[in-house]
């Protein structure tokens, strides 16, 4: 149970490789914080600095009010689940989970009961005497989680813990992790490159790119009000359509259509952002509309994606799967004006 604060934290691996650049982020007690971004964006490094596995080049990290920059990992009282699980191959499941407690000098009886309890929660009761190599991928993953929860740490660190699981197990474990977070009431910091994991699990999401923190907000806000084109494009699948537009007053003109913006922007050139799901099939007379020339169709049962061109710009639209469309058709779609975004083409920042 603890809050975590990054204050202007920078990590340089060498003079010209900066992994984390001036990161300031405060994570509240019992919060489920997700750090998300592409590989190499510095999210894992940020986590490893908190765990004490990487030195901090400048700035400071606090757990509660205590600066932990120079504290060895064992004194930080955090538990970490690694992407590779990092189970000790020469120890049984029981000993893997007991290791941290043993190192801390927990009485033997306590160790046994806590390992048993964790084994019960994670359905590992029958596997306690096995070695990691005798377990399936999902079981190994649960042992890695068990090793963390028996310690009852102040903060849980999870470094892409689901990325080695197959799709079905991943969904299942995602839900279990959320339940675990609710039951334990401990601060979770979860690193992933998967936006679905970020959106579904996080109380708040911190989007990182190139070592820089882009935006920190609850999932809905990240999705509805991205602060820049990077966040807008990273969250949401398929990604947001970006169309260059010239703007005069409130009229925005793209290569294939024109529309009236709900607000003035003060820009002459901008980038219009529309998510594929924000097109509407029925167009009334005064709505903005586009004519999409369909090049590729994807029917997924619940959804139908149209890939095509509007004027000279590529565009993706999600429509009702019942809508009968063929490749080569021109489809008229309305634009949900409430969900439009305009970005400054120069700075890539969102105007709205």
């Amino acid at each position: 149970m603890a809050s975590v604060t990054y204050e202007h934290v920078t990590k340089k691996f060498s003079a010209d490789t900066t992994a984390v650049d001036d990161l300031s982020l405060s994570i509240r007690d019992t919060e489920f914080m997700v750090l998300v971004g592409p590989s190499g964006c510095g999210k894992s490094t940020a986590l490893r600095m908190l765990a004490g596995l990487e030195d901090i080049t400048s700035g400071q990290i606090k757990i509660d009010d205590q600066v932990i920059n120079d504290m060895p990992p064992r004194e930080r009282d955090v538990a970490m689940v690694f992407q590779s699980y990092a189970l000790y191959p020469h120890m049984t499941v029981h000993d893997n989970m007991a290791f941290g407690l043993k190192m801390r000098g927990t009485p033997r009886a306590d160790i046994v009961s806590r390992v048993k309890e964790a084994g019960r929660i994670l359905r590992l009761d029958n596997l306690l005497a096995r070695k990691p190599r005798q377990l399936s991928g999902g079981q190994r993953q649960r042992v890695a989680l068990g090793r963390a929860i028996v310690r009852q740490p102040r903060v849980f660190l999870l470094d892409e813990p689901l990325s080695n699981l197959d799709a079905m197990l991943r969904v299942q474990t995602r839900i279990e992790l959320q339940k675990m977070h609710q039951r334990l009431g401990t601060t979770f910091i979860y690193v992933t490159h998967d936006q679905v994991e970020a959106m579904t699990m996080g109380d708040r999401i911190a989007v990182m790119n190139d070592g820089l923190l882009q935006q920190v907000a609850p999932p809905r806000e990240i999705y509805d009000q991205p602060v820049n084109m990077y966040v807008a494009g990273f969250i949401g699948s398929p990604r947001m359509n970006f169309l260059p537009v010239t703007i005069s007053d409130r009229q925005a003109k793209a290569s294939g259509f024109e529309l009236t913006l709900p607000k003035a922007t003060g820009l002459a050139h901008g980038t219009l952002g529309i998510r594929p799901e924000h097109f509407v099939p029925n167009v009334s007379a005064d709505d903005a509309a586009i004519d999409l020339k369909v090049e590729v169709l994807e029917v997924l049962g619940a959804d139908q994606y149209l890939y095509g061109k509007v004027g000279s710009d590529d565009l993706i639209a999600r429509v009702d799967p019942q809508l009968k469309v063929a490749v080569g058709d021109r489809v008229r779609l309305g634009v949900n004006m409430q969900r439009l975004h305009i970005f400054d083409s120069e700075t890539e920042r969102a105007v709205f």
Binding site: L53, P72, M80, S84, Y85, P89, H90, G137, R151
Partner: protein, 296 residues
Amino acid sequence: MASLARLKIGKPGTGRVIGDKFVGRAIRIYLPLLALLVVTLFPFYWMAVTSFKSASELFDFSVSPLWVREPTLAWYQHLFTQTNFPHWAFNTAVVATISTLISLFCSILAGYSLARLRYRGADSIGWGIFVTYLVPPTLLFLPLTFVIRELHLFNNLWALILTYPTFLIPFCTWMLMGFFKGIPRELEEAALVDGATRIQAMVRIAIPLALPGILAAALFAFTLSWNEFLYALIFMNDSLVKTIPVGVTQELIHGDEFFWGELMAAALLGSVPVAVLYSFFVDYFVAGMTAGAVKG
């Protein structure tokens, strides 16, 4: 799929296929292996056979030298009662064991630190150690002789116990460095976060996982010091402190006179401990200790 179909349909066909396979394997694998085995084992065989021959049979050139008609243990008896062989064997065992232990201790620490800890100059130290190993003992024995004389260690087993690590430590360090590098770093990181100190992470995680490598290094170190000749020849002049390689070649050969029976008996006995060690630890070399540590 094709082979599966063939298996189901025609039994004679499958028989031919298996037969072809067997002949193919025999030519490609077993024949070369057999040749290698013969080449390797032949000297041992000849050595063993010779050591069991009586003197009269040994010098009878009318019969095949590769067979013994009336085996006798006379040379062995002679070796143990008339020569200092028991002393040599004891000395060799003591020197090889202690120098191996010393070298292992140093090499485990050195190999681990070079593989794991990031400190200034780690790479150059690693290369330095490798280069040290390349310096031949024929060059090193001169300065070492000086050192041993200054320490008044001539004719003292410590002279060998202390000089053997000069080539054992570089060798073992280099070898163990590779083994430690092969252990996923996250395992120790997990241990550190779990509450272990760096030393505890090394002792409880890295060393148990490097055990096959450590045993291999120990075995090589032991064999190298067991067979070492040059330093033992130079530092040990008193018959009672000699090691087997030196004692055998110096005291069982007088000028051009070879005591073949004792020579062969001593050589055979000298190679037994190493052979036993190898066969005893062979299971440990079957790796796979780290299987299951990471991923699926």
